[in-house]
């Protein structure tokens, strides 16, 4: 579903991704862990073109988002082609990024209508079903400003799902939430995982990574230092930096 090879990314003098390769299969839930500044969010954002890479190639659902030439330098197709390929991905942000001028339903149906040119009559039933699924059917006509953080994030998940992506990218989805509100978001994510949604999750929720993820990718200083089935990562981390990280987090 995702195949990233040899990604390099610089922010000016800062080398944030130093040769990252990652493959995610359909139906897999992969947790990306690591200390802050390790490049995990950047990696995620490169996969849906919120950031571009300088070197390496990215394949989403079998289509080339970034191609590497003989020297490894990356090139991207046209903007419209990039948009088309990235429609296979959906993203859930740390700060939700709901559209405050639209109701909850408006947030869900906006992109299907403007991007996919679906008719309102076609999208509304799907949107309502998604709201029911995340437990917010009664908030259909509410304004985002009236929702709690946990509700906002569940709306954001439903909004991403309304575009029917093949893979969902989560960028620290519970980091901006009060501790008592993370549970409802994690429950929704767990439910998606049970439905075999392909998910790539940057998170600090160790319990979620251990119980829900199939695989853990541990990043440090712009590189993937360890990649293991979730169970093994938590019981027998191989790399010293992963052990130090776990000791700190658990």
């Amino acid at each position: 579903m995702v195949r990233a090879t040899g990604l390099h990314k610089h922010f000016g003098a800062l080398h944030v991704l130093r040769g990252v390769s990652l493959t995610v299969a359909r139906g897999e839930v992969v947790a990306i862990l690591g200390p802050s500044g390790s490049g995990k969010s950047t990696l995620l954002r490169c996969l849906n073109h919120l950031e571009t890479v300088q070197r390496g190639s990215i394949e989403i659902a079998g289509q080339k988002l970034a191609s590497a030439d003989a020297t490894g330098a990356s090139s991207y197709p046209s903007d419209s082609e990039v948009r088309r390929i990235c429609q296979h991905t959906g993203m859930v942000f740390q700060h939700f990024n709901l559209f405050p001028h639209l109701t909850v339903l408006g947030n869900l149906i906006e992109a299907p209508m403007t991007v996919r040119k679906q008719s309102r009559a076609d999208v509304v039933p799907l949107a309502e079903a998604l709201l029911a699924k995340v437990g917010l059917a009664d908030k259909r006509d509410a304004w985002p400003a009236r929702l709690s953080g946990g509700q906002k994030q569940r709306v954001a998940i439903a909004r991403a799902l309304a575009m029917q992506p093949d893979i969902l990218l989560f960028d620290e989805p519970t980091s901006a939430l009060d501790p008592e509100l993370t549970g409802e978001v994690l429950r929704t994510m767990r439910q998606l995982a049970e439905e075999r949604m392909t998910m790539l999750v940057v998170t600090h929720e160790m319990a979620f990574a251990r119980e829900v993820a199939n695989r853990v990718v541990f990043m440090d200083q712009g590189q993937i230092v360890e990649e293991q089935p979730a169970r093994d990562f938590f019981t027998q981390p191989r790399h010293e930096r992963a052990r130090a990280f776990l000791a700190h987090m658990l």
């Binding site: 849906n48 073109h49 919120l50 903007d79 419209s80 948009r83 990235c86 429609q87 991905t89 959906g90 993203m91 942000f93 700060h95 939700f96 990024n97 709901l98 559209f99 405050p100 001028h101 109701t103 906006e110 992109a111 403007t114 991007v115 996919r116 304004w143 985002p144 400003a145 009236r146 909004r159 991403a160 575009m163």
Partner: protein, 217 residues
């Protein structure tokens, strides 16, 4: 009372000229201001600088000077060199001037929109144009309504500057009668007209703001 009824028709004619200029200027300068704001934020440096220069010029010189320039001096400018009749000249000067002010208000409004809004829209597959039209500009409109209202009310009163082009707007009509009849009543009637227009505008903008703010109340 008789006197009032007698001076009312010419004053109403004047108010018609004032209102006409007001609405035409508003209808032209708002879209032009939006285009300038977007150009001011363009990734093409030459365009950005050109628009900045234009805004500097328009905000840095008196509107009265601009009116006189468009009417009297434009015919002598090489290349452009058009002679505009008085009313179109006024429309051009007012539109360019107000577009510059609206552009700055809208630019600030666009820049105040959180980057997360663009990212959220992009992650949903929306293009730049779709993001602007559907996500950014509706929020800009809501956020900039108060300063836009302010500028619009200023425009009502600025229209009186067209007396320098000898156009018979409300104020000029009033002045004519004052000088003819040695009575200040026409000035008071004119003031009442301006206040009435401002009152109506204030009310319209309040309604718009309430309607736009329904979701944050």
């Amino acid at each position: 009372m008789d006197y009032l009824l007698r001076i009312l028709p010419p004053l109403l004619d004047g108010a018609g000229v004032t209102l006409g200029l007001f609405f035409i200027t508003l209808a032209l300068s708002l879209p032009l201001g939006l285009a300038l704001a977007l150009a001011r934020l363009s990734r093409f440096a030459a365009l950005r600088h050109a628009v900045s220069g234009f805004i500097w010029l328009m905000r840095g010189t008196p509107l009265m000077l601009q009116l006189l320039f468009v009417y009297y001096a434009l015919p002598f400018v090489p290349v452009i060199g058009v002679r505009l009749p008085d009313y179109p000249a006024a429309v051009v000067a007012f539109t360019l001037n107000y577009a510059a002010y609206f552009a700055e208000i809208l630019r600030a409004g666009i820049q105040s929109i959180d980057r997360g809004q663009y990212e959220g829209a992009k992650a949903l597959g929306m293009s730049y144009a779709q993001t602007m039209r559907r996500i950014v500009l509706p929020q800009v409109w809501r956020n900039t309504l108060p300063p836009l209202a302010n500028e619009t009310i200023t425009l009502v009163k600025d229209t009186s500057l067209i007396y320098v082009l000898a156009l018979n707007d409300l104020l000029r009509a009033a002045r004519g009668i004052v000088q003819r009849d040695f009575s200040i009543t026409p000035f008071i009637v004119a003031a009442a007209f301006y206040l009435l227009m401002t009152l109506v505008l204030t009310w319209v903008f309040q309604r718009l703001e309430r309607q736009q703010n329904a979701h944050v109340a």
